[in-house]
Subunit: 219 residues, 2 copies
């Protein structure tokens, strides 16, 4: 849905305002500077001037390439989201054939890996989401994709009798997907009550499996 594959058709207001040019280097320099600085400090502590300086241009020149700091980060998030969408497709394919429980684990692993590989960007996305409607929408689309897929899996498993009935599949899917988001964020951000990076998956998988396949025993 969101964007095309690689050439990037420059969505709406995002990106440079003119057309193509050799200033592609500058544009790339800005994006790279942003990614680099995000490894060091939160988005709120990065100014347009930092990005301009990092790319070797003045602040006004920055505005020739991007309409705002947010636009730079949105471009970066777009790429992360596109990569993650790839992971999701793959995961779905794996799930379709073979043991769904093992497939589920692999799916969660892929997703986790996609975001952990770009930890700083993931964190920036969460930060930007708080103040920027476009970021909020973009993230909402991502979440919606996973919720939809997860809902389908749960319904399929219930239909074939492998999973017991329970709360509406979409509701369960929503809660599980949001749990993953939060748990992964806390882990990446190094929050205080948070799971160890290498235990995240074990815990999430266990809860997903129990939520989908387990019925609560009664005392």
């Amino acid at each position: 849905m969101e964007a095309a594959a690689k050439p990037a058709p420059a969505a709406k207001g995002r990106g440079r305002r003119g057309t193509r040019a050799s200033g592609d280097d500058r544009e790339r320099a800005i994006l790279e500077t942003a990614e680099r600085l995000l490894e060091e400090r939160p988005l709120s502590e990065i100014s347009v001037d930092d990005l301009a300086k990092g790319a070797g241009i003045s602040r006004p020149t920055f505005y020739f390439y991007f309409p705002s700091k947010d636009a730079v980060v949105l471009t970066i998030i777009d790429r992360l989201v596109a990569a993650a969408a790839g992971s999701r497709e793959e995961a779905l394919a794996t799930l379709a054939q073979g043991d769904p429980q093992a497939g589920l684990r692999r799916a969660l692993e892929d997703l986790y890996g996609a975001f952990r590989a770009r930890r700083a960007v993931t964190l920036a996305a969460a930060e930007l989401r708080m103040t920027n409607p476009e970021a909020r929408d973009l993230w909402a689309q991502v979440m919606e994709g996973w919720v939809t897929d997860t809902t389908a899996v749960i319904e399929a498993e219930r239909a074939r009798g492998a999973a017991p009935p329970g709360e509406p599949a979409r509701n369960v899917a929503t809660a599980l997907v949001q749990m993953n988001e939060r748990v992964q964020y806390a882990s990446f951000a190094g929050e205080s009550p948070a799971l160890d990076q290498d235990r995240v998956l074990d815990v999430l998988v266990e809860i997903w499996l129990r939520a989908i396949y387990g019925s609560a025993a009664h005392t």
Copy 2:
């Protein structure tokens, strides 16, 4: 732990800098203005000037009462956190005697209610947490409290044989508590994939019960 009961001993830098005075009215006016404005728009769109104007004072005078906008919101969050801590104690007491599963539901209900009752403040807390270390720490303490309690419950249930073994109790507790936070936030904020306000509890309770008491059946 955090603060005292009602007189508020003015923690560290927070609150007015002098001592007591009739200017208590002003301080209250600022806090009330902040709460009112937070019902209307996000924290990032509220300026110190808005708070001062709302309290009928000039901007410099605002700084006589609070060192920053963040300090005002932190004070408000403190109160929410204190109220929520009350709910937690109550919930724990309920849990201690009687049916743990019913108790668990009541506990989640109380928590949910405490935050839903102050939706705007809850949302502001999440926003502030992104940029303010003090807010981050405060929230971390809150989370830690619930994780600790939940861990104890899970371990007790496993010990008495009511719950099957599984991932370390604290890890499961962490994931569940974080799930609740995220799901409730999404619901309050009216995000796009989010649970309906009146279905949140049913879904969360089912997942908690299955995560704690259910073992995943194998296909």
